[in-house]
């Protein structure tokens, strides 16, 4: 299975070789989609993790035990459906096409699975319908 997570590091966990452990001890394939690491403040990383189900679950448990917040991406990148007017402005800046115009309804659909939490859409949405919660 494959899923995307946002990892939030407390200041004191940043120096631990977390990603290395995921690969070595739990045989998980990972892809770092975005990282915002700072020794002075809390840091975040957007990670795509892939592996078989048992390893996947154990890997997640390990992460949760490491004093990190691990959240599936759809919990952190949210669109306010009441606010969205389906204009399409965000679709033009979304690198992985997670936001795209549905060719039947012509509404702008949001495929969380593809999102890399880059926040481009957050900045350009004219009605500020999209929020990324990193803290």
């Amino acid at each position: 299975m494959k899923r995307r997570f946002i990892l939030k590091f407390k200041r004191n966990t940043i120096d631990k070789p977390i990603v290395y452990k995921l690969a070595k001890d739990y045989h998980l394939v990972f892809n770092i989609l975005r990282a915002n690491i700072s020794p002075k403040a809390d840091s975040m990383m957007v990670l795509e993790i892939e592996g078989d189900e048992g390893d996947f679950r154990k890997g997640l448990e390990y992460l949760k035990g490491m004093n990190l917040d691990v959240e599936p991406i759809e919990q952190d990148v949210k669109r306010d459906e009441e606010k969205c007017v389906h204009c399409g402005v965000c679709a033009s800046v979304c690198p992985p096409n997670a936001l795209y115009v549905n060719k039947e309804t012509y509404r702008v659909d949001f495929d969380y699975e593809r999102c890399v939490a880059c926040e481009h859409c957050v900045k350009v949405c004219p009605v500020k319908a999209i929020h990324v919660y990193f803290d």
């Binding site: 007017v85 389906h86 204009c87 399409g88 402005v89 679709a91 033009s92 800046v93 115009v101 060719k103 309804t105 012509y106 509404r107 900045k123 350009v124 004219p126 009605v127 500020k128």
Partner: protein, 408 residues
Amino acid sequence: MKTIDEINEKIKSGKVVVVTAEEMVEIAKEKGMKKAAEYVDVVTTGTFGPMCSSGMFMNLGHSKPRIKIGGGKCLLNDVPAYCGIAAVDIYLGATSIPDDDPRNMVYPGEFKYGGGHVIEEFIRGKDIRLVAYGYGTDCYPNKRIETYINKENVNEAYLYNPRNSYQNYNVAVNLSNRILYTYMGILKPRLQSANYCSAGQLSPLLKDPKYRTIGIGTRIFLGGGIGYVAWNGTQHNPDVLRSEDGLPRAGAGTIATIGDAKQMDSKFVRGASFIGYGVSLFIGLGIPIPVLDEEMAYYTSRSDEDFYAQVVDYSNDYPNRIPKSLGEVNYAQLRSGKINLAGTEIPAFPISSYSKAREIASILKAWIKEGSFLLTNPVAPIPGVGSGIKMNTLEERVPDILFTGETE
């Protein structure tokens, strides 16, 4: 041949056949023009896009003691409103922004809040903070007032939009090497994106391309309530390049619209922040078009394939007013998500909402069906094709002689 009065009789007796502009495309294909003209009475249209040339007039009522805000200064949630009119009449424009907004100082600016947002909140029924200054007169002694207004406690509040519902528009691209932040959204460098802003086959003025039925006084759907066409819009330019059958191939006609803000719905009037550009207002607008004869059946049934728009460079040509088109594309291509410009494939994105345009056309259809919305004969036409209108430009000019030094 039918008249608008005959159609209204049908609406009143519940016998009217009303379809949306999308449905009309199919009906005409199936039945042919003659039968479609006999069968369909009204075609409803819709559009929902950012329309900067919009704003709201208000009469605030008089304070005790009275204040003459006219000629003074007036802020609504810190956003300046125009008050160079009578004592307590003001006009809040969609693009107005607070004096302390950083604008594009840190580029691209965010333009988080402005006139468009105040108008949306007002329509939602929220309290708006009013701070106003007058200079004080014998009849209006008060010099400063601070209070809250809302749609219950002002007298009139109506949108008056000098230019809405553009009949067709540019497709914006960027030939330069840097990202552009424009009123057409974000334009990626080196032709990596093309943005367009028209509901195409649902767009009101495209479906009555020669303004046969839309004129001054036409009743319309405006912002979720009922509005009217007040005049032709600013920059109304009917004599642009047209197809042989009369469809405009570039931004052409516009309308000025008016409607009671108190009856509008914030679902169809939404403040908008365009990064690096400014504040605007999304407005939903729809116009019913009577199918008077075969010609109107023909026009109301034109589809996205029939409507062409010009591709314009916004890095150099548009800002410098160079009237150049990089090519033509139709709305079917745009709506497919890709256009082809001289062999280059460019991803295309809308900045106006086709799904909302659809919703508006359906609401208007329902209103007409249930008999709550009657059509109108225009009181007077707006200038049509061949009217000879030319767009004037603004040329900079300085006085030849700044100071002559003598008087006779």
